[in-house]
Amino acid sequence: MRVNLTLLTVMGALYACGIYLILERSLTRVLLGLMLLANATNLLILATGGYAGLAPIFSKETAPGDYNDPLPQALILTSIVISFAVTAFMLGIIYRTWVLAREDEIQDDVEDRRVADTPSYDAEDDAEIPVETSEFPLTMLGTDGRAVSNRPPGDETGSGDPHPDDTVRAGSAVLTVEDAAAEEKPGSTNIEPGPEGGRK
């Protein structure tokens, strides 16, 4: 099969420009890119028919190899019609975007942005449930001795290891955080509380 080099070169150039253009954000350029891609493809189909030959009208004197292959041209006609319809529709959409937003740019998806901005913390699913084993209403402590109650989820000031000087009130007694946490844990020294409230 002989192939026309000019056709192939033009086709390559059209594909390159088309791909460059559909990567733009401006809708008109995207449309131009799509049109170039469609036409480049039409050239590709034309190239598959081989080098130009005689019109495919049967006559007894012509050798079969001299005719042009008519099928690619029929395919191209169909694809031209289809790309024409799509182009017209895209123009309609672009005009509508212009009427609505006065700009020719592809808009961001609001819902996408919203989902992306969702914090990983979910108030319903991820709320930290304090461990409460004491029968006294102490300031609620997590298992690691962090006080977790009455603190908004975003507030991270109390996070990390408790400072040894932090204290909590237990009734009238004032305990250091670590001791209070030790009392909350199973097997703590709290089994026989001393007069000062279980100080080790």
Binding site: A38, L44, I45, V86, I106
Partner: protein, 552 residues
């Protein structure tokens, strides 16, 4: 006169209906009657076609009397006729739903006069794609349905729909261009675009060229079917369209892509050349898709992600290239079309009853409308694959085929499939807990319609019109019909699985397809199943026996 020669009517009837509804564009009642009648007729015809190929084997119709491989040929085999019946039942239900919505709302949300003809053209495109036995005609079928879907996607021309429409149109056009390039290259390499003829001639090509053509087709169809790395356009564009449109898109359009992939893999490029990449793509599609679903708070978006995720199951079944796997995939396609569409229809009802499809805004629907709860619950459990529903049966078939195959990758896919199924359950259970079970006062931003006194629960204000019926009987009825169809797939799973397995056998064997198109003397390149007996195709049209040899 063979019953087979009626096959083109599956495409012609909807197009005729589109023409009639265009003429009747000012008479909405006549439009409704015409479109529903013609679609019912199409469905009836397709049931007859399914019945006639059930035992009789594959039927080919030469359009305009041109013999293959030169003319266009429509092929009805068990897979395509099963797809036709399922897709037409679903599109009929959605059409009834859409007319119900239009009658209740007026033309505010979706201008129905344009809807009817466009919708029928969409159905014609889908039928054409399912029937086509010619690669370029398949492209035309795709373009018919895509162009109709562009219009449906941007119906009403509101801001969000136009934005979503742009993404959708550009992605679809690029995939169509890729498909066309592949067709051009295939024609350049083999000199034919008839699929049966290609099945013979592609086998003679150099393996490198074959792989190139194979990959190009798969990428083009992969975009349309939303297989993982090519699926990002789908959840972006589907949810903004009107509820019935999203429902029919979710049910049909991606499945046409899956159908095309199945045909490519079984008929054009048999063997297991690309099975490993396909399996990896299937695994990623399942897992990434369902993880996306978990992050969503809008029900429509969540369902779009489950749609992407469950495409992975079908690709998995296909990539195993075994009768069991492909049969399960065929069953799964039929199941998923029905279930996914009914879930989207129910979401449309939730949106009407609860005022929104966002899970932050709706709540307490189980008490307000127990029927709606039931309509959501059944297909949701079906989607998640809870026994005894058809989703469970389909997944079970896939798992069995995967274990039968026994490779490490197949086991990975089986585990991924189970995991995806569980995560799907988690996703739909979240919807259930939030939208149906909790009290309206617990919702983050409850819609006023939920807090209204129970007395005026049946009507509400939509688009400035007061006293609109929130749950019209036609909409609920058509949704219920689809849900029942889904349950029916469970009840009649035995016979349907039998058809699916038989069609898988035929597709992997290829003899009946190729002989139906090219005549009984056509040589079939040996591949695939060594033990399957080539069945004599009794259906090759008596008037057009095309004595066509491969020697060319």
């Amino acid at each position: 006169m063979n019953i087979a020669s009626l096959a083109p009517l599956a495409v012609v009837l909807p197009i005729l209906g589109a023409a009639l509804t265009f003429v009747l564009i000012r008479h909405s009642r006549a439009q409704r009657v015409v479109s529903i009648t013609l679609l019912s007729l199409t469905l009836l015809l397709e049931c007859v076609l399914l019945a006639s190929v059930w035992n009789g084997g594959t039927i080919a119709v030469n359009i305009g009397g041109w013999l293959p491989p030169w003319g266009i040929v429509l092929v009805v085999d068990q897979f395509s006729s099963l797809m036709l019946v399922v897709s037409s039942s679903v599109s009929l239900a959605v059409l009834v739903y859409a007319t119900g919505q239009g009658m209740a709302d007026g033309d505010q949300d979706a201008p129905l006069s344009v809807f009817h003809p466009t919708y029928l053209i969409l159905v014609a495109g889908v039928s054409n794609a399912f029937l086509s036995g010619d690669l370029f005609n398949l492209y035309v079928g795709f373009e018919i349905l895509l162009t109709a879907s562009y219009v449906l996607m941007t119906l009403g021309g509101t801001g969000p729909r136009i934005r979503a429409g742009v993404t959708y149109v550009v992605v679809s056009v690029v995939s169509s261009v890729l498909f066309l390039i592949a067709i051009a290259m295939i024609y350049g390499a083999t000199g034919t675009i008839n699929m049966a003829d290609l099945a013979i001639k592609l086998a003679e090509l150099d393996p490198g060229t074959r792989t190139l053509l194979h990959v190009m087709l798969l990428v083009a169809f992969g975009i349309k079917a939303a297989v993982f790395p090519l699926s990002f356009w789908l959840p972006d564009s589907y949810p903004t369209a009107p509820a019935p449109v999203t429902a029919v898109f979710a049910g049909l359009l991606t499945k046409v892509g899956v159908y095309a992939i199945v045909r490519t893999e079984t008929l054009l490029f048999p063997g297991d050349t690309l099975n490993t990449p396909l399996m990896i793509a299937a695994l990623l599609t399942m897992v990434v898709g369902i993880l996306g679903a978990l992050a969503q708070s809008d029900i429509k978006r969540l369902l779009s992600f489950t749609l992407v995720s469950h495409i992975g199951y079908m690709v998995f079944g296909l990539a195993m290239s075994s009768v069991a796997g492909l049969g399960a995939a065929v069953f799964y396609v039929a199941h998923h079309i029905t279930i996914q569409t009914s879930l989207f229809l129910v979401t449309g009802l939730i949106e009407r009853r609860g005022g929104s499809s966002s899970m932050d805004r709706v709540a307490g629907l189980a008490k307000l409308s127990p029927l709606l709860g039931l309509l959501f619950f059944v297909p949701a459990m079906n989607l998640a694959g809870i026994p005894p529903f058809s989703g469970f049966l389909g997944k079970l078939g896939l798992m069995q085929a995967g274990v039968q195959l026994g490779t490490p990758l197949a086991y990975a896919l089986v585990i991924g499939g189970v995991l995806t199924s569980l995560l799907t359950l988690l996703a739909v259970a979240r919807v259930w807990n939030r939208a149906f079970w909790r009290k309206p006062s617990d919702a983050e931003h409850p819609d006023p319609v939920l807090l209204a006194a129970p007395g005026d629960a049946d009507t509400g204000t939509r688009h400035g019109r007061k006293n609109v019926i929130l749950l019209p009987r036609t909409m609920v009825g058509s949704t219920m019909a689809l849900v029942l169809l889904g349950v029916g797939l469970t009840v009649f799973a035995g016979p349907i699985f039998k058809v699916a397995d038989q069609s898988a056998q035929d597709m992997l064997d290829r003899t009946s397809y190729i002989r139906a198109v090219l005549g009984d003397n056509a040589p079939v390149p040996a591949i695939a199943l060594p033990d399957s007996e080539p069945r004599a195709s009794g259906a090759a049209d008596s008037q057009e026996p095309a004595p066509f040899g491969a020697g060319k």
